[in-house]
Subunit: 680 residues, 3 copies
């Protein structure tokens, strides 16, 4: 299943910063070998070194670097340089620079900030991509193309505004349809000419939700279009090498799911901030696990950790040193969630620029004896051993999924009401994912377009915006025997944020057997109580807050009710049989203790298998990568101190071969990898 | 005294959002009757439906709606559509869009944001107003014109800047006079040509107080001028129907008192945010009471509650559901303070746009069985009964006034010193008003231009900016036997924020018999003590903070002195006889306990009558609407729980006829209306 | 050493604000004499009164004022008016107005905000300066020129951008050199034409540290160049009178050290905010003492307190009245630190403008009986007496210095890592200065360009950016017998913020005998412990936080080590012998208790003399001004209450002649001045 010759261990490499120091370039290769680096990303941001003047290409330095790396057994991930433009390009063709939402053209500077519509920028990019692919595309060192860098942001220039109008014409066909979906009868916004339409400009209209949503979709589509043009140049010039781009997880403004079919492998840059405090480490681990699962679930295949820091980042508030053990743990966490690589930003620390205090494998001292260098060496060795043991032949195959949709996320963030100080969609989704993490249950995190066929249990919180077909898909899933958990504030609007008329949750009143009457929003610090009735083996009472729906049962059975306020006695949790399955509906945002207890109950009811047959202590999780012959179970301890895990079955250490009968000990920040051989 | 055929119960109605759903439009009329709605506002923001292309008027849909409403006995308040312009208008004539203080022209979007100077916008507005008036002005359904919507904001475009210069020429006559009043010798700002003068631009000069004040005055005047042009078109085309515009209370940047003679009735939109907490409910009730009194005092006549929410608003941080009882209480609070209507925004919830989660009488389910619908029905029934009982023949007639001046408010907000973290003018005024509220004493809240003749007691806090004649007016009031309370930081600047030279409080040292030497500003958390001497039946000691004036008595008698710091022993409260009256002067910002105790003392001394003969429990107030034959007393309980009021006299329930001898019980959030028949 | 005929006691005087009130102008002279004012600053911001139309000069009013002052024995500091331009100038020549970092041209308004490059502004300034110098330069009243006012800020207009490019050409000579130092290979920023380079525009590149540093240097240089042009006009027209400009201490964006050779005397405006709380008063006193020392150390000569408030300022959050005693204390604090003047802003309170609530010697009442007026009188009397006693013949001569470099300050503020929530350079420097203040040890605060020859002890914290030669200078200082204290995060980058390669602290590993391996940044609220070993007479343990360096000793001896975390046992404080001196290195930010104890130890070890032979109570300090015949010791009590100081030697009061044998009593906010006669 690994699309590459081996599990990759590598780093971003910027030889163009050291062209005046051939001694350092020479020393780099030896140090890479010493560190166990077998793969580097080359050419990210190198445009001004590759094309110092318009049309003048200076590739020889790169050729020498690639050759010298290849001779040393180091592979190359070759980047196109479009992530940052040279100064001459910006000066000569200002159209390549972005225009802000207040219609100001940017000056030269920064990176990842070109206009994605500009024909000039596309042409200049096409030219240099073509030249690069021609020169290096067939080099045996090159195992992957890395297109541009961390796409993101938006541009409001006249070209982008015109492109947006064309996009709208394609989507809606007629102004009549657009006026209806954008609900322009509100505030006299009806358009009578396509040219009257603008993106959500800061100085114009930012509160027409359908318009804002469409703009976000357009930005993703236009960025994807730019990416695809680059891919086209590469594939037509140098076919046969896989292509990707490095993503940035949940911080992105793009809907990465749209890239699903255009990347050969998902690659992303993960930068957890460890050691903000020991309890925060566990939160950070859970957030990072969630991000890995989100990124893996785009294609539901192994992915690449394209960037991570070997030590600290410099852009965080505080650059806390990684404690001994954390570098290994953090690196293998990615692998446990499905990564077939551990790559770093960057190989050698820069002397200048705003990232000069970002850690690198080799720091400004230039020596190999540093703690970071040794940490990196250790990861290299362990990866190589796991590769030999067959880890590359495995993948993560969850039986559960959490539904997390980027368009729904956009819509909920933009929503004006019922709780403008925080609808907390992402936090809510993550609280369910956290329960799976604590139980050691692998989970996918999928959008509304993904098929649910392979799951036993699906948690679908806050389905506010229902993309076409999702209600049907959930019904089919449940009828076929699945266990479904939905929540308050579902079935509210259609794809264009236009409210459904009639009974709500729209299209799902039959599925859940309930109907929403009202929804109460609570201030921070205000609470209600959820009283669980005898039908569930949970605690008698939990706290709810933020959003409390007032539902009435129309077929469903109540499992819990509110304990306070004028809606005391209204159902707070219900269950409804639907075909062979069951649909649960949670009416209010519940405290995490409930989430954990209830998810645990659902896992058991749905017959979902946990990664390891044991109760996991606080701060510990386990992930399974399954293969044809055997499974690898990564047991990770995010506590700074030693824990012991009481086992319900014996396990063997995949690396050392040691056997654990009743107890598995883990030192602080330790990760152990267990082996599960298929019997029969 | 009611200018309309009945107490109005109505809502904003936007049939233009449902033109594609004739079934819904048909159903609306029946639902309105079911809800007891007898009046709707029509046409607010309907411009793009009324004039979809320049000069093409499509009024038939509106004609049908008006006819059908009229047939069902429902009156119409007809709006001019100038509150939001169509897209075609903005595209073709960009001058109608506002320019910000940093000189950026807005893009199309939003509402209530046109340039009020633009000749094009005035002409386009005139045209459609004329057409509307011609077509509908004589329709028997139409009982009131509603001009535009919630005027506000400011525009810095070249047209407005030129108009500002003309306004200044009219005000000052010569540059010499302007230079003197604006004190341009400071920082070399002397103007030698009118064209050198700009409004307070963000990128220019925002700290010349006289300039900023004049700009705010100009903005009010220019907005008023725009409004008057609309009124002129309507009145000349369709005479005989009263005209108003809907105001927004204290949030406005306009001095609404300037509209006094140009509106036939004051109408305003009141949106209190209930249920932030039970103690906060009482604060909210007091703030809302203050706002009602401010708005009523513009004309000192009954007003209209033009908008209110039947449930929640969507633009607040948290959309908390109205608890049972609160809708009735909140609606009748307006009536108690002098409103002859309860109108809602809006009749039917929108499907899209940024207000789609704002409550409406009919929500997106389209049903009449909802809690909100039933709450609205109940208000309708009660209003109708009160109307029959003669409430429309009564009005609020206070014997006390609090002086609150919009220009003084502007000046104090802009002031650089002595306490830039908060002069708290409005809070101070409200603390005195709160004391009246808690005592059940009706109070007007008037500006410096209003006559004080009808009052026994006037509280005039922080008369920082003295508009011409106010000192004389206060002296006449006192000499004629009135009781006056003034405070620290009075008599500081003239109308243009130019300091008075010589003794301060300027023009009032004789009135109060004191003279200010210095003023100490305190940090938050710093306090002094006010020690009350034996002449007053108050507590021996209160806390003061924020601003402590160091005065010396020149004729006044001290009633309290400071207890701490180097000005210990200086007078903190004084009294001075002046003609037949008394002028009290409070030297420091006192804690609320003092305000309550002292106002209570003054009410007694001045012989001011309270609304109900009883001590009111915490969170309860009473308002009297007085008529020729009888008075109605609204006793309102803003506590969630039951209270009992010990009565000093018997009362009869105005609705049920029940008699209360010694005790009046009120359930949580209940309002009871007592009747007082004139004997003799 | 005093360059002026006497210790100056004066105020800013704006007769142009009162030209319409000759009665007031007449009264002013008498009031000045009554107040003991012997010197006024004239003409600041008077341009529009001096040149009301282009080329038309109206100087007669000023001539009359100067004559009348001179007749009354009052000297004049004559300002050039370039601090604020007339409206006609801004309207006719918009190029004189600044352009912001987002490239928006300012509108007319404010002050101290002209473009310092504009040829027009320079020419207009030259013309009026010439006329002023011609008319008044030889007047015997004029004892000092005051050029412009509080220079500061920056301008991004095309003229400034072009000048910046020229400045860069002069600095770097070639683009190749600039590209190397700015490290433009990072993010493809390589420049191939000078015209591609911009300042750090908000919409462009603000994170290239070398570029930002160069821009700040350019801004200082260009401002200085503007100042020098004014000086040239004055000196060539009216030679013989000293010239200065008024600075604003540490709030400035300019590196004032660059003005060292261009001002004849350092003058600055000091505005401490007293009475935020009694403990805060001591902090304020220490901060103010630091600022006085910084300003004095620019030239290491007596300076002028050019502005201070006689009462409150109006621009602070809260205008707290000065408590009795504080005005004298605050004024003499400046004198104690080396000022030969006490000057006020301003003489007479303005009637309008944004500073109308700033205190003045004469307030809007126009009377002389006010508390402030009497406070000012008292300072005048005391200054005159001290002048007669010979204070003008003394100066401050410290044996210690704290190194505080403006360029290092810029670089640390701009740094992205390792602790973006606060590197706290200035706070760290001030904590060492505070220890000297508490010990009563006079200290200079010098930049990296200043010679260290005259000191016994130098504290040099956080030498992050090493300007050329500083490492050598520190080594020579130490080898020659000096005691040096350096700290963590030193020797990191060169003058252009480019990291040193190899061992760090670069160029100082031999000096300190240590080498840095890593640096750990801590979140707020996280701590480590520093365990002191037996070699030092300090407490056994102190707390460290924020930044903890992991060093290894290469020659140094550890004096303390870390007590926690994975770097427990690493050295936290070391000492290294170097020639005849000793170099201490502190590896972590230590709590103030350590700073105080350790500085106290170093003072003793280095044989540094304290101002007074006594232990000083909390909140009390002492400064010595030394003369040929005798020394004056200013003992200042910043507590509101009385303290008694136990003396180790007898002293005589310099003013009253009283003797203090064992105990020196000081009332709250009192300052006593002791005399020390040289024996021998």
């Amino acid at each position: 299943m690994n699309k590459f010759p081996h599990l990759l261990h590598g780093a971003d490499y910027y030889p163009e910063q050291w062209l005046g120091r051939p001694d350092i370039l020479r020393r780099d290769v030896g140090l890479m070998q010493e560190a166990g680096i077998d793969c580097v990303s080359l050419g990210v941001f190198a445009w001004s070194s590759l094309e110092p003047e318009e049309g003048v290409y200076t590739f020889d330095w790169m050729a020498q670097v690639i050759d010298s790396l290849y001779r040393a057994g180091i592979h190359v991930i070759l980047a196109t340089p479009s992530g940052a433009r040279p100064a001459w390009l910006a000066r000569k063709y200002p159209e390549v620079l972005r225009v802000s939402g207040s219609l100001q053209r940017a000056a030269f500077g920064g990176r990842q900030n070109h206009c994605y519509t500009s024909p000039v920028y596309r042409e200049k990019t096409r030219r240099i991509d073509f030249e690069l692919a021609k020169r290096f595309g067939g080099h045996p060192a090159v195992i992957l193309w890395h297109v541009s860098n961390e796409f993101g942001g938006e541009c409001f220039c006249p070209l982008c505004r015109a492109a947006f109008r064309e996009w709208l014409k394609r989507k809606y066909g007629s102004l009549e349809k657009l006026n209806a979906e954008w609900y322009t009868s509100f505030w006299s916004h009806r358009y009578t000419d396509w040219d009257q339409i603008d993106p959500p400009l800061k100085t114009g209209e930012t509160r027409v939700h359908a318009q804002t949503l469409d703009w976000k979709r357009f930005v993703t589509d236009q960025t994807l279009d730019f990416y695809r043009e680059e891919v086209k140049t590469i594939r037509s010039t140098a076919p046969g090498v896989p292509v990707t781009t490095n993503m940035i997880g949940l911080k992105s403004n793009l809907n990465y799911c749209k890239f699903r079919d255009s990347v050969d492998v998902v690659a992303w840059d993960s930068y957890p901030l460890w050691h903000q405090g020991s309890e925060e480490d566990i939160r950070t681990a859970q957030k990072t696990a969630f991000a890995h699962d989100v990124m893996r679930s785009i294609k539901r295949e192994p992915f690449l950790l394209m960037e991570s820091t070997p030590g600290t980042v410099n852009w965080s508030e505080v650059s806390r040193l990684k404690r001994p053990g954390m570098h290994m743990l953090s690196s293998l966490q990615a692998v446990a969630h499905g990564s077939n690589s551990v790559q770093y930003f960057q190989w050698r620390q820069s002397r200048g620029g705003c990232e000069k205090f970002h850690s690198a494998v080799v720091d400004q001292s230039g020596e190999s004896g540093t703690r970071i260098f040794r940490d990196v060496q250790a990861v290299g060795k362990r990866l190589a051993a796991l590769d030999r043991a067959g880890l590359g032949e495995t993948e993560v195959r969850p039986e559960t999924a959490v539904l997390f949709d980027w368009e729904n996320r956009w819509a909920l963030r933009d929503a004006q009401g019922p709780r403008r100080i925080g609808m907390h969609y992402e936090e809510t989704v993550r609280s369910f994912h956290r329960a799976f993490w604590e139980l050691g249950v692998p989970a996918d995190v999928v959008d509304m377009e993904t098929s649910l066929d392979r799951y036993k249990l699906v948690v679908a919180p806050m389905l506010y915006l229902c993309r076409a077909g999702i209600q049907k898909k959930l019904r089919h899933f449940t009828e076929a025997g699945g266990t479904l958990l939905g929540t308050y504030w579902s079935g509210v609007v259609n794809e264009n944020d236009l409210c459904f008329l009639g009974a709500v949750p729209a299209g799902m009143t039959d599925l859940f057997g309930i109907r929403r009457e009202e929804i109460d929003a609570l201030y921070d610090g205000q609470f209600n109580r959820m009283l669980v009735n005898g039908k569930l083996p949970l605690k008698p009472e939990y706290r709810v807050s933020e959003l409390c729906e007032l539902d009435r049962c129309e077929g469903a059975s109540p499992l819990a009710e509110y304990g306070e306020d004028f809606y005391r006695g209204y159902p707070a949790l219900t269950v409804h049989s639907c075909g062979k399955g069951r649909a649960y509906y949670l009416a209010a945002r519940a405290e995490y203790a409930f989430v954990k207890d209830f998810v645990s109950y659902l896992v058991q009811q749905a017959g979902v298998r946990r990664s390891v047959n044991a109760e996991l202590p606080h701060g510990v999780t386990a992930n399974r990568r399954a293969g044809a012959r055997k499974n690898f179970i990564f047991v990770q301890n995010f506590n700074p101190s030693t824990v012991k895990i009481a086992l319900n079955a014996p396990y063997r250490d995949a690396e050392s071969g040691s056997a654990f009968e009743k107890e598995l000990p883990l030192a602080g920040y330790e990760v152990k990898i267990l082996e599960e051989t298929h019997t029969g």
